[in-house]
Assembly symmetry: C2
Homo-oligomer: 118 residues x 2
């Protein structure tokens, strides 16, 4: 395997963090499972980082700045750094979600303006 | 809904791009489905952006700098900007994957050094 890429396989673990596992330089990404009735045990915000959450399976809700946001498979959510957030599984379903941390305003070109087609 | 977050639901479409839909500032994220036997019709690299791919369902393979990399559900892959890459579904299975574009070396603090716990 060249240094130009790195691959791992993520099983159904409670939380897997990819930054160190994949030598990421532009993001931290975690894959998380909250069992039914469970929740992240704290409210948090960020100093610099935007977070993007993607719901891969199950359902639950988030509370963001006091507002309840229902979450189901296929939902994708951008949360600004300063927002106070907490995530909950449903009482009758686990929730599996991806959380992507990136520095807010760090993206310059992308897709058509950053890619080079061979 | 405050400006501090935004949510959409992604159905099983061929390709959905989140940057404009969610007003992202630190990443472009696409959710992609290649039907069985299909492939992205070109090889590409990037000028500045690191890409992280996550396989959500199905199987296939990538060719990265001439090396064939098998891909299955749960695989996560970091690809450096300059690597030449192309993605293929299996001949007998579709592949559903997330592609996250971020500027290489843009991440500073993360998790414990960027989060503030309430």
């Amino acid at each position: 395997m060249s240094n130009n890429f790195k691959k791992i396989n993520v099983k159904d673990e409670a939380r897997v963090e990819l930054h160190d596992a994949l030598d990421l330089t532009g993001a931290e990404i975690s894959i998380n499972i909250l069992p039914e009735g469970a929740n992240v045990p704290f409210v948090h915000s960020h100093k610099q980082n935007e977070e993007i959450y993607g719901i891969i399976d199950g359902e639950g809700h988030a509370v963001i700045d006091g507002e309840t946001v229902p979450l189901a498979k296929g939902d994708w959510l951008r949360v600004s750094p300063a927002a106070k957030r907490q995530f909950f599984a449903s009482q009758h379903s686990a929730i599996k979600y991806i959380c992507i941390q990136v520095k807010a305003n760090s993206l310059q070109g992308y897709t058509a303006t950053d890619a080079e087609i061979m």
